[in-house]
């Protein structure tokens, strides 16, 4: 690297290769999620754009600086920082929403489980008349032998 941030002219450097590999790897990992198709498609397009932009910015660092100058940001690294802040916030928002969806599913599941267990216990306590917890009358006929 030259002191002003422009790449040296001697081809591709090691860090460029590592960064591109890392970005592609993350992209593949992120793609393995499932959600409703429309949001998923949008997310994939955004991700594709992000990957392309990342590769371009690594391969041609001057492009990022030029873009930064074009939109009025001092340096390319600053532009990158801002983009990262936005990407990070949107990541927080998406994962928060997903966590909530997941939590509410777990809640429904656990509740069904708890209520089913309670129904079983109530049915059992009806069969033994000694426990006077349940005011409901006993079932008309005992259930068939499960065995």
């Amino acid at each position: 690297m030259n002191p002003d941030g422009t790449p040296v002219s001697s081809g591709i450097t090691l860090i460029q290769v590592l960064l591109i590999l890392g970005i592609v790897g993350v992209a593949l990992l992120l793609n393995r999620t499932t959600a409703d198709s429309r949001h998923q498609a949008i997310r994939r397009l955004l991700l594709l754009g992000f990957v392309v932009a990342a590769v371009v910015s690594v391969a041609f660092p001057t492009v990022l600086s030029q873009l930064a100058g074009f939109v009025g940001v001092g340096r390319g690294t600053d532009l990158l920082l801002y983009a990262l802040v936005i990407a990070f916030l949107s990541f927080i928002a998406t994962s928060l929403r997903r966590t909530r969806q997941l939590t509410s599913r777990i809640t429904v599941l656990a509740r069904e489980l708890a209520l089913a267990q309670a129904r079983i216990e109530d049915a059992e306590s009806r069969e033994t008349p000694s426990s006077a917890q349940d005011p409901a009358p006993p079932p008309p006929s005992p259930p068939a032998d499960p065995s």
Partner: protein, 232 residues
């Protein structure tokens, strides 16, 4: 196993007391026994307690419905309400806190009022009574919660976060709590308000014992409640 001496089925057989329960082993037995002296049907929703609270509640004569994992007080209330409504003849649901801060006599008064005035819901309020023992910070937080509830539901309650409520079955069926945590109180108000059924507030006395102070929500936790309410 013989449960603790309790009121017979003649005492409010159409009423189910719902107690969300999470790690209250020190007091839950006494709370359940106290309630059962007046109200026969008590369901404790053991929200994944790790201190044997559920067994103590069962020994005290409550029906225990156990969440396999801890979900939060709102989720426990919803489970308890659904269980109560599934019982034959259930007409009133009373929500009651497990930490012993509520008075059974208050619950009975509210139940009587719901029956006499044909109300769909009676909410307990600390601030209709003169005996307010809450500290300054807690009072400010509670007032803020009241304000948010008023903004979002249009109901002019004086105390939005009181755990003592009497809800008639037709109104209780309309409650679908989606806030698993502590912000459910405003949700209950909201869902009952949407039914358009008549409701009232009733002055109750909340005991802030050293136990409930030590266990209860810290004032910092009310930040969580407010955030939950705003960013639903």
């Amino acid at each position: 196993m013989d449960p603790a001496p309790a009121a017979g089925d003649g005492a409010h057989p159409d009423t189910w007391v719902v107690i969300p329960l999470f790690n209250e082993a020190a007091v839950i037995g006494d709370v359940v026994r106290g309630v059962r002296q007046e109200l026969a049907h008590v369901v404790c929703v053991d929200d994944g307690s790790t201190d044997g609270s559920g067994e103590l509640a069962r020994a005290a004569g409550a029906k225990v419905v156990r969440h396999p994992v801890n979900l939060g007080q709102g989720a426990a209330l919803q489970t308890g309400i659904e269980y109560a409504l599934s019982r034959p003849g259930a007409r009133y649901v009373v929500t009651f806190d497990a930490d012993g801060q509520h008075q059974v006599t208050d619950a009975l008064d509210m139940l009587a009022r719901a029956r006499e005035e044909d109300l769909a819901a009676v909410f307990g309020s600390r601030f209709l009574s003169e005996r307010v023992e809450a500290g300054l910070v807690r009072r400010i937080v509670l007032k803020l919660a009241v304000w948010f509830t008023r903004q979002s539901t249009g109901m002019r309650l004086t105390d939005a976060h009181n755990g003592l409520r009497v809800i008639r079955a037709d109104a209780a069926r309309r409650i679908r709590l989606r806030q698993d945590g502590m912000a459910h109180a405003s949700e209950i108000v909201l869902h009952i308000g949407r039914t358009g059924l008549p409701w009232a507030e009733h002055p109750v006395h909340v005991l802030y014992t050293d136990y409930s102070r030590g266990k209860g929500q810290s004032s910092l936790n009310s930040v969580n409640i407010l955030v939950d309410l705003v960013f639903r």
